[in-house]
């Protein structure tokens, strides 16, 4: 029983972090219809920001306030100067934007490698290893905080998309770009802002992950894969779906690790991903209609 | 038995019924007009006939064979060709290659396909633009290409979906001319059209639907005089 509960808790906490990674991706995929294969790399960048600030004595949670705006700007720049121009370019493959994000991911990784080498970096705080226990079940303090903040951001995003003008414009663009344009939404600007927000959100995930994990230039790739699994699970453009997707992936990985063996962790994720693609197109959003 | 018949065709999407029990017969060699206001279910009918949608219920009978629910490419092989309301040119292929691709549904060798294509291009008056990329054709050219491509599959029955929309008067005349010549070659035609004088002039029979159900059928004259049709097109005030 303890094993089961501990696995459950571990999966849940990890899932909160995954959700935060997923929300940014789901917005970008929902609004622009492209897969951002540089998503994990953006998170990696935020982790390095956290690391650099940490060497100057800044707490990772404080660096949220630096990394998020920075990554917002970077996201805006990428969308404006690298992705939006492609809409006008005549090509054979409509996936050009996706391929562009592959290139961007490579460049980001290599620039960081140039600056920091391939060495592992880590952000140690006095609370990195701290835990509290409920019964026999141990909770990691930083992961619990991360879970809380992820939940907070999701609710904020939910409110933002539902209640603000900008949020409504983003939702309109996600639903039907042409119709939104006709209704007077500047969809070019919306895509730029969306990519910025998506980048800022994944930056938050990076800052929260930094104290419990470690940092190296190639860390982005695996998280990009996780991000798109979460997005497909939850359904494109659905913030609540991203939470579901994140927690589902976290739980599935943990359960898979405990009851199948840890080496199956990634296969469990990929299998669920393929099954959802095939049998539940639209993800959990389809079930809940949220 | 009829050459082509649909029996009580029904198609629902979720809770919405797009086509609700439509039946009609088409005789070989006819030009059969299908009219109805926007959203009345005409294109849905075409999509069921050509295999894009599987009907919720009902039958599609072609040369005494039930074909509902068959895949589009099978239906094409049986001899039913179609055009699309929103044209779907194979954009980065030349006009000639578009038609060659379609010709391969009947022949396997490149030489035969090319010969077939040249013949069709000539018939449709597209020979001068054969080397142009399909995406750079003007709208009239694209509509014509749709027809040429459908003809290249050597259909016995041709479904034309709003071939005349967006054409200028000269282009209209030559389009009507083309449709007549297609019929003269022995191909039966079912045509969806909004431009009344076009459909009234070339059709042998007309079937009118509204909200997915039949409201009238008969010769162009009969349908034009039908009260339900007038109401559907002009609203009750004009009745």
């Amino acid at each position: 029983m303890d094993v089961f509960l501990q696995t459950l808790v571990a999966g849940f906490l990890k899932g909160g972090l995954y959700a935060l990674i997923g929300i940014g991706m789901t917005l970008i995929m929902g609004v622009m219809g492209i897969i951002n294969l540089a998503h994990g790399q953006l998170m990696m960048l935020a982790m390095y920001v956290t690391f650099v600030l940490n060497t100057m004595g800044v707490d990772p949670y404080v660096s949220l306030f630096v990394a998020m705006p920075l990554l917002f700007l970077l996201g805006v720049t990428i969308q404006k100067f690298l992705l939006n121009p492609l809409i006008r370019v005549e090509t054979i493959l409509p996936e050009n934007q996706v391929l562009m994000t592959v290139g961007i991911g490579m460049v980001l990784t290599e620039i960081v490698r140039f600056a920091f080498k391939s060495d592992y970096k880590y952000v140690t705080t006095e609370y990195s290893n701290r835990t509290f226990s409920l019964g026999n079940i141990s909770f990691s303090v930083p992961l619990t905080i991360a879970f809380g903040i992820a939940l907070l951001f999701t609710l904020a995003m939910f409110w933002f998309l539902l209640k603000t003008d900008l949020g409504r414009s983003i939702r309109a663009t996600a639903q039907d770009k042409d119709a939104a344009t006709l209704m007077g939404v500047n969809t070019g600007r919306i895509t730029v802002i969306t990519f910025g927000i998506g980048s800022a959100l994944v930056a938050a995930a990076g800052c929260l992950l930094a104290p419990v994990y470690y940092i190296f230039p190639d860390i982005g790739g695996p998280f990009t894969s996780k991000a798109f699994i979460i997005t497909i699970l939850g359904g494109l453009g659905s913030t609540v779906g991203a939470i579901f997707g994140g927690v589902t992936l976290g739980l599935a990985e943990s359960m898979g690790a405990t009851y199948f063996g840890m080496e199956y962790e990634d296969i469990v994720g990929l299998t669920i991903f393929i099954l959802v693609l095939l049998f539940l197109p639209g993800g959990f959003k389809r079930l809940t209609k949220v | 038995m009829a050459f082509f018949r649909v029996e009580k065709l029904v198609k629902t999407f979720g809770g919405l019924t797009a086509v609700n029990g439509v039946s009609f017969d088409v005789e070989q060699g006819q030009i059969f007009g299908l009219i109805g206001p926007n959203g009345s279910g005409k294109t849905t009918l075409f999509n069921m006939i050509s295999g894009v949608y599987t009907p919720t219920s009902g039958k599609v009978l072609y040369k005494d064979r039930e074909i509902q629910g068959m895949k589009p490419h099978k239906i094409c092989k049986l001899g039913i060709g179609r055009t699309f309301q929103v044209v779907k040119p194979l954009g980065r292929m030349t006009v000639r290659d578009n038609v060659i691709a379609a010709s391969f549904s009947r022949v396997n060798s490149m030489g035969e396909a090319r010969d077939n294509a040249m013949e069709i291009l000539d018939f449709c008056g597209l020979t001068p633009v054969k080397a142009t990329l399909a995406k750079s054709l003007p709208i009239a050219g694209r509509k014509r290409l749709e027809i040429a491509r459908a003809l290249a599959t050597r259909p016995d029955l041709l479904l034309l979906d709003e071939t005349a929309a967006g054409l200028n008067p000269t282009e209209l005349l030559s389009a009507m001319n083309l449709i007549r010549r297609i019929r003269e070659n022995g191909t039966t035609v079912i045509i969806i059209e909004h431009i009344m004088h076009v459909i009234m002039t070339i059709s042998d029979r007309i079937h009118a639907i509204n909200f997915g159900t039949t409201i009238a059928e008969g010769t162009p004259k009969e349908v034009a005089a039908n009260q339900a049709v007038i109401e559907a097109y002009l609203g009750t005030d004009y009745a």
Partner: protein, 403 residues
Amino acid sequence: MNLRSGVMSAFAAVLFALGIASGALAAEKVKVGVLLPLTGSQAKFGEIEKRSYEMAAEEINAKGGINGSMIELIFEDDTGKPDVGRSAVEKLISRDKVPVITGGYSSSVTAAAAPVAQQLKVPFVICTGSADDVTEKGYDFVFRINPPASEYPKAVESFLKEVAKDVKTVVLLYENSAFGQSSSKSFEKDAEAAGLKIVLKEGYQAGAIDFKPILTKVKAANPDMIYMVSYVMDASLLMRQSKELGINPKLYVGGGAGFTLPEFAKSAGDAADYVYSATLWVDTLPFPGAKQYAENFQKKYGSDTEYHGAEAYAAMYVVADALKRATSASAPTPQAVRDALAKTDMMTAFGPVKFVSYGKKSQQNKLDTYMVQWQKGELEAVWPAKVATKKYVYPTPAWNARK
């Protein structure tokens, strides 16, 4: 048109310069090719090894080089990929015409490079690549200084036999890498032969965020010993999360790789305390020049070295020694260097080097391995007793019993 001819003439100039570049370097020097990952994810160790090679070459040159001619190192970046590594070896042999190649960091690059050296008959002195296969093919031009992966846990086995006699149950965790899979397999075999019971054996994909599920299972199994083959950051996470869960075996042992690196202790903090690890080398070993090498490295580059660096440093001396014996009047031929290498019998900072055949292996250096333990943030050699700098702490104190 002007621009085009400009491009053409620039191209011609480049070709010309390339011709000079390859010709001009043929002065009175002895070339040694070094194959290392200098970019990519393994670059960290490639860099340490490169510096060690350079340091050793400078020392040798300062003492007169190879019978008067200077050693010139030609580094080739294998980027950690076998096909690139192979390009590099081909270049070293056919363009630079080196009489001997050394280096070889990752198992996969080493395994792809060794047959090339063998077929082209140029000796290849491997300093790190640890795949067992490489010296089991009867290649007579391939030599290896470091022990193969399967032999890393040797010292652990003797420690279990002589000290930790009450260890009966073992949990085995390893990363799914060449090193992890092969050394865990050989450890399992030997442990079972010694009468230990493997209660849980799990591989994992390097880079996991969370080891809690697996560690929860470990805790439930309550083993006497946890043996982990992990790279540095996984190692650190494993220990941190073991501490979080309060798992208390009699000893934690790392199977080489990540557990001996300074980063492990720094990032794991006090969770690293009392952790044992198998290792191939520490600077306190009583080999001539070991301590000095570590100190000089620190002085010269301002950063710490570790066993990979020592392997490279020793490899340079082994190669130089063979070159000296192979160089009589003329420049050394690959064949002469190979013959000289086969007769190598010398002491280095990394330990004695002599290429012997045993079991399936040939031209393999046979070395002892050691056990180290983190004590108060310092890595101390604890086993075998004759090389110990501190006495081992056994059994490991329970987490809540520590201050």
